[in-house]
Subunit: 168 residues, 2 copies
């Protein structure tokens, strides 16, 4: 990660986490991975990010254990995709905290641009990032959708972590 300081051996877990996710692109790539992106071209199209920025961040996220690089067979040759790991998936509360704070404390560019985190297990929007504010259930990716009014379709289910079944 191209940060000026190295907090990876810091006693404070907040600082150590920032060594991994203290970069806006990393969290936006993670957002897209939660929304189902796996292939390089999907991340690039969704984020409009320069190739050198994207490839460096993806590699850093693989090194940090947020994503797993896995081969898949294309028409002509073998490609690679980026799968969400358990450690990456465990950052969902962080993305939710950012979404909820942004909804409350930053102005939306259009009055109708809003994001809701919906706990599908109970059917209600939540105002807390990790546990449903309505029913108290844990916000598991398989039971959460994001309703983003400015997108078509508006509702997107979230991806769960891929089990690590790579040969040792």
């Amino acid at each position: 990660m191209p940060l000026r300081s190295d907090w990876s051996a810091n006693a404070c877990p907040i600082a150590r986490s920032l060594e991994v996710v203290g970069d806006p692109w990393v969290l936006l790539i993670l957002r897209e991975a939660m929304l189902g992106a796996r292939r390089y071209e999907q991340f690039r199209a969704a984020l409009g990010v320069a190739d050198n920025v994207l490839s460096r961040r993806l590699q850093g996220m693989v090194d940090a254990g947020l994503l797993r690089r896995a081969p898949y067979r294309g028409e002509q040759r073998t490609h690679h995709e980026y799968q969400l790991t358990a450690a990456g998936s465990d950052l969902l509360p962080l993305l939710h905290a950012l979404a909820l704070w942004g909804e409350t404390h930053t102005p939306a560019p259009r009055a109708d641009a809003h994001m809701e985190i919906v706990h599908t297990a109970c059917g209600h929007a939540t105002s807390t990032p990790d546990v449903c504010s309505r029913c108290g259930g844990k916000l598991l990716p398989a039971e959460v959708t994001w309703r983003r009014s400015w997108r078509t379709p508006q509702v997107t289910s979230l991806a769960s972590a891929e089990p690590d079944d790579a040969p040792g």
Copy 2:
């Protein structure tokens, strides 16, 4: 904020939040403000950060509404301190999400270096960032302490937002 992209008018609240807090120093300064720091020298001493980095971040955090710059009368002249606003205080779940993820997914430099978020209203450590995992109560700053085993003293109470009583 010295980011390469400008997400302040993005429809996505995650991106808009990252425009404000997508910088490790901002979140480390916020951590210290939660722990009670108010004066420039306190932030500098706690973080070991260069003056140009610190002063630029503090100004950006004032502009973004996370901190409020307020005068106080020193021995010789008037100084300024940085008070946590309600918007800044509302980032506590984000810091907690970072702390909990870091405790789980990054290696501590020493086996005995651990951070616990204690909900003093019920007396138990929480494993969720916004609502106590034990009693379900909202984690208000006035009812939370951070237990950091590598610090002396280990237990620190958190600062609450300062009411905005500045003359209009």
